[in-house]
Subunit: 477 residues, 4 copies
Amino acid sequence: MGIMTSEAYLASLAKQKPVVYIGGEKIHDVVHSPYFRISLEEMCKFYDWANDERTAADFTFRSHLIDERVSFWTHLRETPEDVRRMIEVMKAQNARHFCSMCMITGLNVLWAVTYDIDRARGTCYHERLKAFFRELQTNDFRYCMGVMDPKGDRSLAPSAQADPDLYLRVVERKTDGIVVNGAKLHTSNAPVTHFIFTCPSGVLTEADRDYAVSFAVPVDTPGITYITRPAPGPLTSRTLENPVSGHIGFVECLTVFDHVFIPWERVFMCGEWEFTKNLIQYFSPYVRMCKGTCTSARTDILIGAAALISQYNGTARASHIRSKLTDMMIASEIGWGCALASVAKSVMHPSGIPIPDSSVANAGLYHSRLRFIGFLGTLQEIAGGIVTTMPAETECLNEASRAYIDKYLKGVDGVPTEDRLKLLYFIQDLTASRFGGYLTASAVCAGGTPETNRVEVFRNYDLPQKIRNVKELCRLA
Amino acid sequence: MGIMTSEAYLASLAKQKPVVYIGGEKIHDVVHSPYFRISLEEMCKFYDWANDERTAADFTFRSHLIDERVSFWTHLRETPEDVRRMIEVMKAQNARHFCSMCMITGLNVLWAVTYDIDRARGTCYHERLKAFFRELQTNDFRYCMGVMDPKGDRSLAPSAQADPDLYLRVVERKTDGIVVNGAKLHTSNAPVTHFIFTCPSGVLTEADRDYAVSFAVPVDTPGITYITRPAPGPLTSRTLENPVSGHIGFVECLTVFDHVFIPWERVFMCGEWEFTKNLIQYFSPYVRMCKGTCTSARTDILIGAAALISQYNGTARASHIRSKLTDMMIASEIGWGCALASVAKSVMHPSGIPIPDSSVANAGLYHSRLRFIGFLGTLQEIAGGIVTTMPAETECLNEASRAYIDKYLKGVDGVPTEDRLKLLYFIQDLTASRFGGYLTASAVCAGGTPETNRVEVFRNYDLPQKIRNVKELCRLA
Amino acid sequence: MGIMTSEAYLASLAKQKPVVYIGGEKIHDVVHSPYFRISLEEMCKFYDWANDERTAADFTFRSHLIDERVSFWTHLRETPEDVRRMIEVMKAQNARHFCSMCMITGLNVLWAVTYDIDRARGTCYHERLKAFFRELQTNDFRYCMGVMDPKGDRSLAPSAQADPDLYLRVVERKTDGIVVNGAKLHTSNAPVTHFIFTCPSGVLTEADRDYAVSFAVPVDTPGITYITRPAPGPLTSRTLENPVSGHIGFVECLTVFDHVFIPWERVFMCGEWEFTKNLIQYFSPYVRMCKGTCTSARTDILIGAAALISQYNGTARASHIRSKLTDMMIASEIGWGCALASVAKSVMHPSGIPIPDSSVANAGLYHSRLRFIGFLGTLQEIAGGIVTTMPAETECLNEASRAYIDKYLKGVDGVPTEDRLKLLYFIQDLTASRFGGYLTASAVCAGGTPETNRVEVFRNYDLPQKIRNVKELCRLA
Amino acid sequence: MGIMTSEAYLASLAKQKPVVYIGGEKIHDVVHSPYFRISLEEMCKFYDWANDERTAADFTFRSHLIDERVSFWTHLRETPEDVRRMIEVMKAQNARHFCSMCMITGLNVLWAVTYDIDRARGTCYHERLKAFFRELQTNDFRYCMGVMDPKGDRSLAPSAQADPDLYLRVVERKTDGIVVNGAKLHTSNAPVTHFIFTCPSGVLTEADRDYAVSFAVPVDTPGITYITRPAPGPLTSRTLENPVSGHIGFVECLTVFDHVFIPWERVFMCGEWEFTKNLIQYFSPYVRMCKGTCTSARTDILIGAAALISQYNGTARASHIRSKLTDMMIASEIGWGCALASVAKSVMHPSGIPIPDSSVANAGLYHSRLRFIGFLGTLQEIAGGIVTTMPAETECLNEASRAYIDKYLKGVDGVPTEDRLKLLYFIQDLTASRFGGYLTASAVCAGGTPETNRVEVFRNYDLPQKIRNVKELCRLA
């Protein structure tokens, strides 16, 4: 069918029986658990957008693999124009909804890597992946990328760890499949998707060949356990507080694989450690381009909020406010500009997909993500100390205290105090809450850290050419 | 007695009957309200330190006003050495306890301002303040500085606001006292102190003379209402999570004055708008010196946490980690160095107290507070994404999930997983929680904003002298 | 002919008789003046590249206006691909030769503006410009853009100045042409080009309509005087010192128009002040995109030099060196990425040329130009204090002192001291010379200042849309 | 006599016969060489200030060593107050004269190091140094610190270099003295001083014991050769251009020691490699405190110039100008504040001199020196492109071109064009000249690089204490 409805999605979840721990207990019904309320609301939106004619143009695509319209999540981008269109939707969408699930680009990356392995080794990973892709597209399934390993002692390679399971690995190869052990971290929303799709988290050497493994399995495959934390927002929706975190956010999981059997038709890499280099080489520009886009879009939200609260506070014309907004705009444009440039400089991979430029994508993201952290403070500065000292909504909703609040938390004449309160709660939600912590983490840790960006820029920038130029200018042989 | 015990303090609170709203209701017993648990724990510490011989040297002082030992809160600093010693205690203390209640320097400031007014006008504000001081010292009372007005439309002066009460003001002058109307924001911990002590929040012009008012009254004076929000931490203490915010933090209030009568003996300024300039001129260096110290000390905490988690993660020897720690150390030293320098450059006020240098105090704070925001992200980067995706303590305390957590969230060999969890929860508390939002707010808004620092540097830097030097160098007449 | 040789170019100059002051005297033969040696060497290169089959592909283009191959200087870019190819040549070229004469994009800008005026006013400026274009292309002439006015008191509009000539203006309108008075600053290389081509330097209001004037005239038109300063390099070429500034650089002029007559066929704007807004709107993205490209390419030179001297000094593997190089690479990629993005976001103007995106072009340039200044210091830090304390070439060429220099200025074994000296002189030329001053000026002043970039970002960023998004997120009507 | 006159100084120089190469030749009379004009003018000033009653209070001191008044150069600072007074003079002086010869603090450093060695080893270096000190004081001699070695391959220790002379070393120990070979770089003004005073440039290990050598000898000691470059300014003074570099600046030398004999009484360290650690430990805070002061004072000059040119240009009231000035002021205050703080935190060395705090001194300098580089660009931005494109003074002094210059380079009404020209030439001298290159080098290389500052902060910051605090906060054992 290509496009599922959110109702069908929830029904499909109800049939799955993943092992999930949260709130100190084992959950049997994720669909009705308060801990999953926000995650489900978020997931449903994507189905709804695909089914809504006002948004369908952005969220559905013609797939030539199954010759049907498919969703944003399951579409393979095959040209620079496809990729550009994808990030343009992310830029517009995240400026209103914070996240566009950029993990989906993992599929593009594996598309290329499996092609490389097959060509070099005569394996059939690419065909298996294509079959998996068709299944995803046909049923409009969701999947969670399991990339990051727990990693234990970061100064040691996977096989050198005291506990060999600290990176996900193959512990047994059988005729019909493999058995894996280990865990993946940061597997956002895993229990409310249909598949968990893994790949190695870094470049591996020969000693670590058992760690070079990629596969996809249904989320309720025996042996998988999800140790889960709720989305940052409140368990029940609030009236004034948490306008964002009450509706947007992800359950996060530690996903444990305890001797899980994976049939061969769902294995996409098994031992080919030499190709983890390609994996990272392709993953890096995709994820950084997306995060650069995302960071720019989220910066746009901070800018909008800062500009609006300055209007409500009567400071919109102050030169320092305008200067601060300009600083934020510059960072947003740089993040977005470098994402666009990485697409503009992309090169085609023989598997039929473009690989964006890594150096510029990493450079742009590096800059904008670090500025983003500072802007959380800038937004508080522009809004004022009231962001963290304002009365909770219990006091606003209490008749006895409301009149004083209305009188004293008023901003410029003409703007109702309630509007200002709503905006201030929004800013509180962004900058002084557990959700704000997620925004920070998302800026500095998700999709690799700033330090990773630096490594990638250094690795991909053509330094020998620049040295040759200088030698020529100096007339050095 | 000069020094009270924490038990006596709690008993003294029980006798007060302030009007307090919190959690949607009116509270009658702050001492036993769960909303005030953290605030009270914090307030009691200062009494305990003064009574503990290991810490008494830092927290008690000989006062020549009453010829007894008095507490950190009520001591008047009369020499640069006194002031330096005060900030040295703050530097050491805040690196372990986050806050040293720097609002107390407000007393020093009013000491000087009242002196100025009396000398120019023949009033007797200074004697009244001295009497109030003696009362504070003798009984070891606590007070809350009410400085910030709600301010409504920031582009308009107090008297030009649509509602004249948006800045606290005198509405009636009587023979025995004055009647005031308005509110003060950010009156941290007010309901658990003994006095609320107000002063204007900015420089005023003649049109705003009714707003030039300073006074102190018991917190349960009729007409005062506290619309209150709890400290950022959890209402009940937790086992692993919130090691800081479970014990440190302030109730914040919107303190409303609805036709409150203030007897003349407690009025320290009433209409002398010309002296609001002095007030700001003295307040600025004191509060910025303290905040520069505090920001440095809190940066020290981030540094300690970053260094320790890098040990637990096995990254302590990575050059980029060392470089990031160095960046943080530099900012800490700059904040602290400029605070020390502002004392070293202080000048004596004729009232007998030193006024630290404003330009260097503001410059140092400006730098270190903005860096602090970025370091919240740096700490998360060094700790890793796990800070926001780690399981909640409910999963750690659940036998069924604990074994997997112990296995997979382990860092380097030799450090128990529980130690790493404790540190990660600490980092979560600092960077990804409502308490982290308070740290941000405290860095960018408390004691004036970064923009205020810029204004003060520009105002206090001797630009004409520098222009003269340049003219001389250029041989311009 | 479309493409001229450098010999023909020099011959054509010999026929021109501009009024030129330099070195305290009036020059009669620019072609043989030592003051113009460097400028001419630079100008000739462009002719040579166009005639050299190894470089012709980058420096010649098919023009459909005259249906011949034309030069880099005179080609009209009509598609985003054309513009992208132009900046790609600039990026590669400036990383070896510092400057690609981006002033040439002024022609593209006037192409669009004259079209706008004609369409609105029924004038025939566009046809005149096209005719001028054909003349330039057919003869491969060079021109100098005269944009910046002296501006006197920057707080006053042109017509409000004490001296009305402080902006170039029309003083008389005649049947056959106009008479102009005033001056243009920073008219680089004007006396060694064929035409001086002017336009207003800012947005004008109706009161300043006489200042809304654009035209092109031969450089030796009566009434024009060039008060000139030599290129920053030495008057005579040196052996070791000044490897760059001895061969690259521009004569700079104050070009005075003292009642100069301009025939109508060479006038492209005369009084249409409303269109100065369009002029700036088109000029801004073109020049910032070019300067962003240029700044990136020059940063590449600094990176190459820093990397090479670190090899010569034996510090190439130090982590802080690698980190500093990475900082420089990031800035270079951001400058270049935003230039590419501004092309990728360009929109077609009805006159048939693309207008790049202004906001992203300005943002990228803003960032990279300010970083560039800092990198001049970084390069010195990496090279060492020897850059400014090393013996002059007179000592290196003196037998008596050479042996000690060879012995003591040696770096790593295997690199001859002379190679290190050459590189150090190169770095000296870039960072500690009058030419280094030009590089700084070029980074911060040429093509508008950083402050202008900020203004343009603020003006072009879609702030109302971002505010709407936030209102939606806050559920504000 | 304690204080010499400048006439006596010049006469004393005439008696010295150092071997000096400059301008391609061997110089026999430094006093009358045009290459030394600027250096001598600079050196004489210090003698004149000491003899001028208006400045004597800052430049002369009572020495208890010889019980006479002695000069700024030869005075030993024995209390924190002495040191503070020294940097206060530097701060005031450098804001008008750029340099206060902070190399003089080297004497203080050796005072402490020789004391340490003697106490541990029973040597008599300290008495020898004291005797040398008395000689300097009594005769008011000048000396040049020779610290930096050529260093060859920076990745190798001194004794591991291909050429063992790449660090200055003892090649022979004789009964009456030692013979040394090698060179020192950056020995500013050496040929116009009386003594060259050397010490090791870094911490040494046992293998490098021959490199642990410190001594002082007359500048014309046989075997010493000065390969010299002129001060950055013009050989002959100019009318308008180079108002600073025409009068301020140093000859720089490569000082070669070719088997130079040093009598024991002038040797202050010979083989005690373990004490090079103390040397650096004491040198670092002294030199960084001075350079922090100096950088602040030079920033003050940039601020004065920027403020004045903004007045002349009519932009003084623009908010972005004020904001840029404020940025510069903040950096100046931080540099100065941290210098003051390092004195305030100084500890007494048993030899009787204070050692300032290293961490804060390095932190403040690190910040302000890097900002200084950027401010060179800021100053150009505020002044405008005219700084590098303005006509040379030859055109200003030429009647034929002067009228146009007067008309078109005018700024605001009321300021003569000549005043603006003078200021613009001054700014050119600071930011677009070889002297500007010296300012950059002085900011990033002199007294150790920014990277050295980082190393020192990391080394001196009490990290273990901060980790302990965090463990306590986390309740970790």
